[in-house]
Amino acid sequence: MLKIEHLTKIYEDGTKALDDVSLTVADGEFLVIVGLSGAGKSTLLRCINRLVEPTSGKIYLDDVDITAASPKELREIRLKIGMIFQQFNLVKRSSVLTNTLSGRLGYVSPWKSLVYRFPAQDVARAHANLERVGIAEKARARADTLSGGQQQRVGIARALMQEPKLMLADEPVASLDPATSHSVLKYLEQINKEDGITVICNLHFLSLARRYASRVIALKDGRLVFDGRPQEIDHRRFKEIYGEEAVQVEIGPELTPEEATQAP
C-alpha cells in the first residue's frame, strides 16, 4: 500500500508543482493520473521514488517512510519500485540484454556488476522477461535499433528485473502511435493483473485512461481535483480538469473505436 500525505513540492525556482496532495493507493490498483501539461503529474511520480526530493509531506510504502530514508535505505526501497519513461531511457549503445540486466543492479554484488558480470540466473531471468514482453529474439540487438514500442517493452522488462511491487509509468506511450500505445499498455495491464503489481501511470489521453485504469486521479496546478473511477469523468468533470477551452478529440483506432480526449 502506498500512502501519500500532504505532499508539496516547490522547485528551486519557486514553481509550486505539487500542493498538499494526499492519496492512498491500494495494492493491485491500476491508477492513472491525468491532468494538463505542467499540472505536476511527473513531479508526483518522481517524488514517490525520490528522483525529485519532496519539499514537505510524507510518502509511505508498506509503512516504510520513503521521505525519511537514508541513501542506502532509499536504494532498497527503489528496488521495489519499477519505473518506465516516455523517452524509454534505454542506454542506446548497449544491447537489449544489458539494458534489461541493468534493472537487476540493486541485487547484485557491486564489484562484479562493475565489470559487467551477472549471475547466470539473472541472465536467465532477463531472457524470460524479454520473452514475456515479446522481444526475446532482440536480446543481442543494440537498443537503438529497436522501434519505439519495442524500446518501451525493454523498459518494462528492465523494470520487471527489479521484481517490483509498484510500477511507475511516466507517460509511457506519449511517444508512440495509438496501436503501439495499446500494445504497451496491455503489457502493463498484464503485469498488473497477473503479478499483482500496483501500477501508477501518467497518461495524456483520457480514452486510454478509461480503457485501462481501475482508478483515475486528476491534478490541476499541483492540486488533486478528481479521484474516482474512470467512468465518473463526465463532461462537467472533464471541463474542470482540462479547462473550458478543451475539446474532446477523437482518434479512430482501427479495432475498437474509442473516444480519445486530448488536452489543448
Binding site: L51, R75, F85, R93, T98, L105, P110, S113, R158, Q162
Partner: protein, 386 residues
C-alpha cells in the same frame, strides 16, 4: 490579439558616431600592433632571395648516399719543436698483409712538409689523408694509381702542438648501390622516439584525466556531497594545466628530470591532463540524462549508474578525443626537442644551427609525412567508431 510590437528605438546620431569611434579605435589598435610587431614589407621582399638557398636545400633532403667501401691504414708520427735535433724515428710496426703507409720523415715540426706513401690499396681510388689526435685533421686528398700505390706531399698545420700522432690514409670506392644516409637513419630513429614519446605522454594523461573528468562533470557532481566544490576545483585544475604551453612545461621538467625524452613525456602528460580532462568532462556533460535517471530509479548505486548509464554513452567520444590528442601530441613532440624534450626536434634544431639545410630537410620531410599520416589515420579511426 497580438498586435503589440516591441518599441522601436528612435533613430539618432549615436549610430554613425559609434561606428566612427569603433573604426578609429580599431585603426589605432592596428597601427600600434604593426609597430610593436615590426611588420616590414620591405624587409620581407628584400630578404626573400635569402630563402632561395634554404628552400633549394630543403627540397634536396639528405636521404641516400652511394654505398662505399673504405680501406685504411695508419702509422705513428711525432711532432717535435726542433727539426734539427730529431730523436730516432719510432720503430715501424711489422708489415701486415693489406695496405700500408710510410712517412718521410716520421718526426717533423709544425708547418713542415712531409711525404706520405701508401702501398697495396685498391687501384685508381680516391682517398684522404688524416692527422689523428683525439679528433682528426684532414691533411690532403690522394688518388691511388693502377698498382694501388700513392705518394703525396702534405703540409702539417702550423699550429699543431707537439706530441704523438698517427697518420692515416683512407680510400673510398663507390659501389653501385645506395644506402640510407646517416642523417636519414638518425632522423628515422628519432622520429620513432617522437611517436612513442607522444604515445606515452598521451597514455599518462588519459590515465589521470579519465577519473578526474568525472569530478569535473556538472551533471554528475551537482547531486553529490561537496559536488559543487569538487566540480569547480577540477575545472580550474584542468584550465590551469591546459593554459601552460607544452614547451614551457618541457623546460620546467627538464630541470626536474634532465634534458631528454622523459621531460617531453611529462610535459605532454601534464598539458594533456588539462586538455583531455576538459574534453572528457564536456563529453560526460553532453550525455542523455534519461538513462542515468532510469538506472538510478532501479536502486543502483552511484558507481553502478556511472558504469551502466554513463560509460556506454561516453566511450566513442572518449576514444575520438584520445586519438585527436595523440595526433596533436605527435605534432607537439616534433618540436619539444627544440627546447630539450627529446624527439626529432632535438636534431632538427642542431641541423638548423649548423646551417645544414639538406639534413634539416630530411627531418622536416619526415615530420611532414608522419604528421599527415597520423592525421589521416586518426580521422579514419574516428569516423569508424563514432
Amino acid at each position: 490579439m497580438n498586435n503589440q510590437r516591441p518599441p522601436t528605438k528612435p533613430a539618432s546620431l549615436l549610430g554613425p558616431l559609434r561606428t566612427a569611434l569603433l573604426v578609429l579605435i580599431l585603426a589605432a589598435a592596428y597601427a600600434y600592433g604593426f609597430r610593436v610587431t615590426k611588420v616590414n614589407l620591405y624587409d620581407l621582399v628584400t630578404g626573400l632571395p635569402n630563402m632561395h638557398h634554404i628552400v633549394l636545400s630543403l627540397l634536396q633532403p639528405d636521404l641516400f648516399v652511394r654505398a662505399t667501401e673504405m680501406q685504411k691504414s695508419d702509422t705513428p708520427f711525432l711532432v717535435r719543436a726542433e727539426s734539427g735535433a730529431l730523436p730516432p724515428p719510432p720503430a715501424t710496426p711489422p708489415a701486415k698483409p693489406g695496405p700500408s703507409v710510410e712517412i718521410y720523415p716520421s718526426v717533423a715540426k709544425p708547418g713542415d712538409v712531409i711525404e706520405v706513401k701508401g702501398r697495396d690499396f685498391k687501384p685508381d681510388t680516391p682517398g684522404v689523408i688524416y692527422l689523428i689526435w683525439v679528433g682528426e685533421t684532414r691533411l690532403g686528398k690522394i688518388t691511388t694509381d693502377a698498382q694501388g700505390s700513392f705518394a703525396a706531399k702534405v703540409v702539417l698545420p702550423g699550429d699543431v702542438t707537439q706530441g704523438d700522432y698517427w697518420i692515416e690514409a683512407r680510400v673510398f670506392r663507390e659501389l653501385n648501390w645506395y644506402v640510407p644516409s646517416e642523417t636519414l637513419i638518425l632522423s628515422l630513429r628519432l622520429m620513432l622516439e617522437t611517436i612513442f614519446l607522444a604515445l606515452i605522454g598521451t597514455t599518462f594523461s588519459v590515465i589521470f584525466s579519465i577519473p578526474l573528468s568525472f569530478l569535473g562533470a556538472r551533471n554528475l557532481m551537482m547531486g553529490a556531497p561537496f559536488g559543487r566544490a569538487t566540480y569547480y576545483l577540477s575545472r580550474t585544475f584542468f584550465n590551469l594545466l591546459r593554459s601552460i604551453e607544452v614547451l614551457i612545461i618541457v623546460v620546467i621538467m627538464a630541470v626536474v628530470v634532465g634534458i631528454g625524452p622523459f621531460a617531453g613525456v611529462l610535459a605532454l602528460a601534464v598539458h594533456g591532463i588539462g586538455a583531455l580532462g576538459k574534453l572528457y568532462s564536456e563529453a560526460i556533460e553532453s550525455i542523455d540524462p534519461g538513462p542515468i535517471e532510469a538506472i538510478t530509479a532501479t536502486g543502483a548505486s552511484r558507481l553502478q549508474v556511472i558504469a551502466y548509464a554513463v560509460v556506454p554513452q561516453i566511450v566513442p567520444q572518449f576514444i575520438a578525443f584520445t586519438l585527436y590528442r595523440w595526433d596533436i601530441n605527435v605534432r607537439m613532440a616534433t618540436v619539444i626537442g627544440l627546447v630539450g624534450g627529446g624527439g626529432i626536434g632535438f636534431i632538427l634544431i642542431q641541423y638548423i644551427n649548423l646551417l645544414e639545410w639538406n639534413q634539416a630537410g630530411t627531418a622536416i620531410w619526415l615530420i611532414a609525412i608522419v604528421v599527415m599520416a597520423m592525421d589521416y589515420a586518426s580521422a579514419v579511426i574516428r569516423e569508424k567508431i563514432v
